[in-house]
């Protein structure tokens, strides 16, 4: 009986939107720094799925309906980029060099650590793609023909890390320029980090959202090449 209910697409849709709306309300009420709706919604979802022993396949019947809207939503991300094209053109060279250096430095620490910790090869894609924005990371991992179950979790962890500690880290190393801070937050922690950049200042926020897509496209070009180089 319970299995029949949870298998219905309506259940998955209800659970996803329900967890999101509830998380949104809680985050608004609590106002603790570092608490964001997506993080809470995932925690609520895990509690319900694991607590009530609902198989992920059952949930997924409805989940795919929600996930389907990621396509048009990703296209929506292009509009702010288009509207901020002047900002990009003004600093294009500096922004591209900065993001590329960050990407290379990130890979230089991530790849050795993957081998040190003996992480299974099938999870490499998810770990390497984690600093690009959700939709692109997801597409990237499926393009590499690796299992996608881990990638969003890694993306969320990277996002929350930047949201929670980004300002402290950047302050500690005296990175104060709003362009540098915004791009750094967006490049490491994509949408979630950009939320923090927007709280800092509108200029930083604009830089953050600009950086998300540039970083995403750069990962899309570099990661498949790195994976071939690693022989995976």
């Amino acid at each position: 009986m319970f299995n029949t209910i949870t298998q219905a697409p309506e259940f998955g849709i209800f659970l996803t939107i329900g967890a999101y709306v509830l998380a949104y309300a809680i985050a608004k009420r609590v106002r603790v720094k570092g608490v964001n709706p997506m993080q809470l919604a995932i925690i609520l979802g895990v509690i319900i799925l694991v607590g009530l022993r609902i198989p992920y396949e059952n949930y997924q019947h409805g989940g795919v309906w929600i996930a389907q809207l990621l396509g048009p939503a990703s296209m929506g991300l292009v509009i702010p980029l288009y509207e901020k094209r002047q900002l990009f053109f003004r600093h294009a060279r500096v922004i591209l060099i900065g993001i590329f250096c960050g990407l290379v430095a990130g890979l230089c620490v991530t790849i050795p650590l993957l081998y040190v910790f003996d992480i299974p090869y099938e999870l490499f894609g998810a770990v390497l793609a984690k600093n690009s924005t959700g939709p692109i990371a997801l597409e990237l991992v499926s393009l590499l023909e690796q299992p996608t179950y881990l990638v969003m979790l890694m993306v969320v962890i990277s996002g929350l890390f930047g949201y929670t500690f980004g300002n402290q880290i950047l302050n500690a190393v005296r990175i104060k320029h709003p362009v540098a801070k915004g791009i750094a937050l967006g490049s490491c922690s994509h949408i979630v980090g950009t939320a923090r950049a927007m709280e800092n200042s509108p200029e930083e926020g604009a830089m953050g959202s600009l950086s998300i897509l540039i970083t995403g496209f750069m990962y899309l070009l570099v990661i498949p090449w790195i994976m071939t180089w690693l022989g995976i």
């Binding site: 296209m75 980029l81 060279r93 600093n131």
Partner: protein, 117 residues
Amino acid sequence: MKILKQCLLLFGILAMCKWIAPLLPLPIPSTVLAMLVLLLLLGFKIIRPEQLQDTASFLVQHITLFLIPAALAFVAQLDTLASVWLPLVLIAIVSGVVIMVVTGGVIQFLLRRDADV
């Protein structure tokens, strides 16, 4: 009707890209191709932002909602992740610090140098 027309445009481009993407010589996800196509259409002023604005900003505002099903996928693999979750979190934190400091540091350095010259 306005919202429907905007949806028509968004899904029209997506459907077209899903069909074209596998035909291209380089591997590119269809969603990303759709983003590039839309950027070109906007750049050449074939589409104006207002023709998509309402629907697009609603979807972007709640983009994390659409990522939740994918984020919950790990629940089905808890056994596999039990032994590796700690190193994975550690890697995320270490590489996060490096990426943030290097990206921000390089940009701030270049901007200041340009300002001095």
